[in-house]
Symmetry: C2
């Protein structure tokens, strides 16, 4: 017989796609009316304007419609009050989102030296992985000098989720979070000492509803101080992509970063040399503007393979400034992606 | 009559050129022998191999020789024991060198963004000022990613001085100090959290025998965290040179640095745009590799003049990598120097 209990039992098999708990467990099922085979059900979303509401609605509809006695289904959506949400999910507290996140691999993009193209490499790699079908997130750990929002053309603020904030979504579906999304004005400096920087990074990890990801790329700031240290010590980093440029100057500082990674026992996936050369559009000739490559020294110190050598390309700069890093096409990208994916499995079960 | 007292009175008029106290006050006069108009005097230097020993010896010789009864002068140099030095100058303690330093102007070179050429601008400006006859020092405040040692081709360790360490001297006489001089291996990362970074910077200020300087340039790391904050709060910074590049990305982060400078009430001397363009050596054509200039936005935010727009020049990179930043010649440098010197007086008596 079709009754309210049957509907509740049915909906106890439907999970919130983000919280991975059933709708009944989450007390989201509010009202069930049954008349002549027509089921009218009200679902309270944990937050208003939940981006998953279409999926929830369709999951509910499908589950109920699958019952043989049901002829028609109507799903009404409402949302919980703040008190109702707290009663189910608890008070908002630090790291509350972490238990709901399932992140298979965390990869930090590092260089030690500033301005070598860490964010570009993060953006290119994230894009290539996402286009390959992987679920990808980008955590911008450069709290005081964030580049990621500009590269992806994203602006805050992020939406609140049931147990933390939601990352923004890029055009091709990469989940992105940056401190800059949380500032009222993007020009505002974050004048914080180290401990607060470290705490901000752990919050961008644990207070963000990343959901299910195959890869979370963490774009580190320059230096081997708080941000790098906190990322490597507090986040389950599987490996590091090290970015360098041909300048001897850069390679010395990058070798410091390599030694830091080794000191904290984090393996290096591979090395990317950025700004390797500039191709003159008039003559087609390669100009080694920043000098001859020093990447082999970095590879040797890192004991890691070369993933790519990327040119200086004005079109890449223009796309990045325009927020279109996802539109960058470089012939080197497929090989970068392949080399990265080949190197990654070695990182997964690392000895600790 | 020529006797020991007369020599001591004479030497009480001779100052140690570094400590600005008389040789008698510093108990440096150890032995005085007089025979038939020949004066034989022993001077104990505060530290062995004192780089000023030639000057001290010649000052002593000249002062004694000026006495009418003196026919011949012999000056013997020895050095104090550690205990003797401590008895005169006290135990080594933090900031001990500061009272002996006379630094007329402190200028920080900043950008917020990494890799835009702060260290290059620091090196070029220091060189131009030194060639103009100014006494110049460079404090490398980039503790975790130092570029200054490479640019000047300098390697530690620094020599101990009587009340602190001595900066290294570049070929043209610029006094330089960097955390990297204090590391056993230059590849060693400095994996320190913020408070230690800040303390390192105050030590590079107060524990270094800078002596008399017209300009101390402080090369800041990227970011608006500990290093920048400590420099602006703990050092008497008169003004900031802000460095940017044409990338829109860079100018956004640089504007954050400008707002930080304004928040801590430190005036901005002017703005340098680096990597403005690349001149193809084959065609002579300018390629705006990093896009069109955004410097006017930065100038507007900073309320400060343009000091220079510098090109990307492979020869500059090569000289920097070779430790020869002092050999860099760019046609833009004289105007940079002039604009800087013109803007500086406005910084000297800033309202607090």
């Amino acid at each position: 017989m079709l009754d309210k209990d049957k509907i509740l039992v049915t909906l106890s098999q439907v999970n919130d796609p983000e919280l991975h708990r059933s709708l009944t467990d989450l007390k989201m099922v509010r009202d069930v009316k049954i008349q002549d085979g027509k089921v009218d059900v009200t679902i309270a979303l944990t937050v208003p304007n939940c981006p998953l509401k279409v999926q929830i609605e369709s999951d509910v509809r499908a589950a109920i419609a699958a019952l043989p006695e049901v002829k028609q289904v109507a799903v009404n959506l409402t949302s919980m009050t703040e008190e109702e949400r707290k009663a189910v999910l608890g008070e908002a507290k630090e790291g509350a989102a972490a238990p709901y996140n399932h992140i298979r691999r965390v990869v930090a993009v590092m260089s030690g030296k500033g301005g070598v193209g860490k964010s570009l490499v993060t953006g290119l790699l994230a894009t290539a992985l996402a286009r390959e079908g992987y679920r990808v997130g980008v955590l911008d750990a450069d709290i005081t000098g964030p580049s990621i929002p500009t590269l992806f053309g994203l602006h805050g603020p992020p939406e609140p989720g049931p147990v933390g904030i939601r990352p923004l979504q890029s055009r091709i579906g990469i989940k992105v979070i940056s401190m800059n999304f949380l500032l009222e004005n993007e020009d505002t400096p974050v004048i914080w000492r180290g401990p607060l920087i470290g705490r901000a990074i752990t919050q961008l990890w644990g207070d963000v509803m990343w959901g299910d990801l195959d890869y979370l790329l963490v774009d580190l700031p320059p230096g081997t101080s708080d941000a790098s240290l906190t990322t490597m010590q507090s986040l389950p980093v599987n490996g590091i992509v090290m970015v360098t440029t041909p300048q001897g100057l850069a390679s010395m500082v990058v070798r410091k970063a390599v030694h830091m990674a080794q000191a904290v026992n984090t393996p290096i996936v591979g090395v990317v040399e950025n700004m390797a050369y500039f191709v003159c559009p008039d003559t087609g000739k390669r100009h080694f503007i920043f000098g001859p490559s020093h990447v082999s020294e970095v590879m040797l110190t890192a004991g890691a393979p070369l993933l790519a050598q990327l040119p200086i390309d004005p079109q890449v700069s223009a796309l990045c400034d325009a927020g279109d890093v996802e539109q960058v096409t470089l012939v080197e990208i497929p090989a970068l992606l392949e080399a990265f994916i080949q190197a990654m499995p070695l990182m997964i079960n690392r000895p600790t």
